[in-house]
């Protein structure tokens, strides 16, 4: 059973967000352990650049494993303030530590997102 930390918020596309999203907050996002397990060894990550605008629910990158490819959906609307270069250079970090070293982006949110799921709701989706 994949680990789903209580303190994070989730999307039904298997992204996680640290903390509640309110306008002006900088949030960290990544993909869940369930997603990395389903993809297998991730070998390529394409992410937006610092300064790019991303929109909640829209594709902002992609993740590729030997077996499959999956799109990355932004869980929030805002501007990218930081990209985890370590993960772009060594995508295997995602398989090892999806919620820690495997974070993908920091985004300065321009609007609140009330549609995120809590751990219990997300667990119900992937169960």
């Amino acid at each position: 059973m994949a680990n789903i930390p209580d303190e994070l918020r989730y999307t039904d596309e298997h992204e996680w967000v640290s903390g509640d999203v309110s306008a002006g907050a900088v949030v960290t996002i990544g993909i869940t352990e369930y997603a990395t397990a389903a993809l297998g060894d991730i070998v390529y990550v394409e992410a937006p650049a610092v300064g790019d605008t991303v929109k909640a629910g829209e594709v902002c990158g992609e993740l590729e494993s030997t077996k499959a490819v999956s799109e990355l959906y932004s869980p929030v609307t805002g501007v990218v303030t930081e990209v985890n270069q370590a993960v772009l250079d060594a995508p295997e970090i995602l398989n090892r530590d999806a919620y820690g070293d495997g974070w993908l982006l920091k985004i300065k949110a321009s609007a609140a997102n009330t549609k995120l799921l809590n751990a219990e709701q997300y667990a119900a989706i992937v169960d």
């Binding site: 397990a37 389903a38 297998g40 390529y44 590729e64 030997t66 077996k67 295997e92």
Partner: protein, 385 residues
């Protein structure tokens, strides 16, 4: 109804992710598909292939019956040897690709893909009518366990009883023999689908668990890794081996797939008796030669199978369109980032005009055209092969 391998409990205990594949619940990976792939290229991997179909054809008419049923000549396979072959429809389309093992003068075992096993059994049964032979579907009673990789021989030598060690070491590639493991005999073949040296064990399902445990025990000192279907797919792709439903289908003949060599058409010097698909395959062979000589003459919808390699990081995947300057010229059938080569590889059907090695093409990878170059198959060949 989902079918289950006799080794399913062991897969679960080893932490496998199980997926439904061709109606069977099978391991896609245990922990890391990349590590599993690398283990097979550098050491050894253990696979459960119990989903494959095993069809035994036996009787004095078996050789003639299979000569009629299959595109290769079963009758010229020596006892104890095996041959990669296909079963085609009357119109030359591929029903399945197979390995035919001749176990004795009057006994053959045909190994079919899980997804096609029932259809192949039905076709072979029908085609064997009128010949003096019996067709037995042994799939449900037979487990198949494979040990693949440069260290496979060492492991298999340690698995068989002492008296059979030299039998195993001297077994040629694409040959099989009855060997004994813990005093019980089973069929061992030096075949596989990974591009490496390796062995396949066919045994009754009630002995599969013991065989699996023994392979893990004897393979442990050599770092054997349990491997799932994900690794199997990238291994076969690097080795340029076709997969039914991707490179092979009823819509394509073996000649379009670049596998015309498996079809023995017969000639005035070397005549062969009629076989199913003969007329259509004769025409397909002539078409393919004409395309090779003058690719410009091939009709718009003509297609041949090619290999593609990319320098970028994004991989072409099944179904993606292939483009030349003039427009769409084909479609990708399989693609992945190659763990061994470190760049994307793919197989695709394209118009013969674009099939020459070195031709630059583009693949539409989710809306962006990425450059790929036609390359010779296989992408990977094991050293000292």
């Amino acid at each position: 109804m989902t079918r289950h391998s006799p080794l399913e409990d062991r897969h679960s205990a080893l932490g496998a992710s199980l997926i439904e594949f061709a109606g069977w619940l099978m391991p896609v990976r245990y922990s890391s598909d990349l590590a599993e792939h690398v283990a097979v290229r550098t050491g050894a991997g253990l696979f459960d292939l119990s989903h494959m179909g095993e069809i035994v054809v036996t009787g004095p008419g078996a050789a003639d019956a299979l000569d009629f049923a299959l595109v290769g000549r079963a009758g010229i396979i020596e006892a104890g040897r095996a041959k990669y072959t296909m079963i085609c429809a009357e119109d030359g389309g591929v029903i399945d690709d197979l390995v035919a093992y001749r176990l004795g003068a009057d006994r053959f075992m045909i190994v079919a893909n899980a997804s096609n096993a029932d259809v192949v059994v039905g076709e072979i049964r029908q085609r064997c009518q009128g010949f003096e032979c019996e067709v037995l579907d042994e799939s449900a009673r037979t487990a198949l366990v494979a040990v693949q990789g440069p260290l496979a021989l060492k492991i298999v030598e340690a698995m068989v009883d002492p008296g059979d060690v030299s039998l195993v070491s001297s077994l040629r590639y694409y040959a099989s023999a009855t060997a004994s493991v813990d005093g019980k005999s089973l069929l061992i073949a030096r075949t596989g689908y990974t591009g490496e040296d390796g062995f396949e064990f066919f045994c009754p399902i009630d002995r599969a668990g013991h065989l699996w445990d023994l392979a893990l025990e004897k393979g442990a000192p050599m770092g054997i890794a349990v491997c799932g279907l994900a690794a199997r797919d990238t291994l076969r792709l690097e080795a340029g081996m076709p997969l039914y439903g991707h490179e092979l289908s009823l819509e394509r003949t073996p000649f379009e797939a670049g596998l015309g060599r498996v079809v023995r058409l017969g000639s005035p010097e070397k005549p062969r008796a009629e076989f199913v698909g003969q007329a259509a395959l004769g025409e397909a062979a002539a078409r393919r030669s004409a395309w090779n000589e003058d690719p410009e003459s091939a009709p718009e919808d003509a297609r041949v199978l090619i290999g593609l390699e990319g320098e970028g990081r994004r991989s072409a995947r099944e179904g993606y369109a292939v483009f030349a300057t003039e427009g769409a010229v084909g479609q990708v059938t399989s693609g992945a980032p190659s763990p061994t080569l470190g760049h994307p590889i793919a197989m695709a059907y394209v118009h013969p005009k674009y099939s020459a090695v070195g031709t630059h093409l583009k693949v539409d990878i989710r809306g962006r055209h990425e450059e790929m170059v036609v390359s010779a198959l296989p992408f990977y060949q094991r050293p000292n092969y």
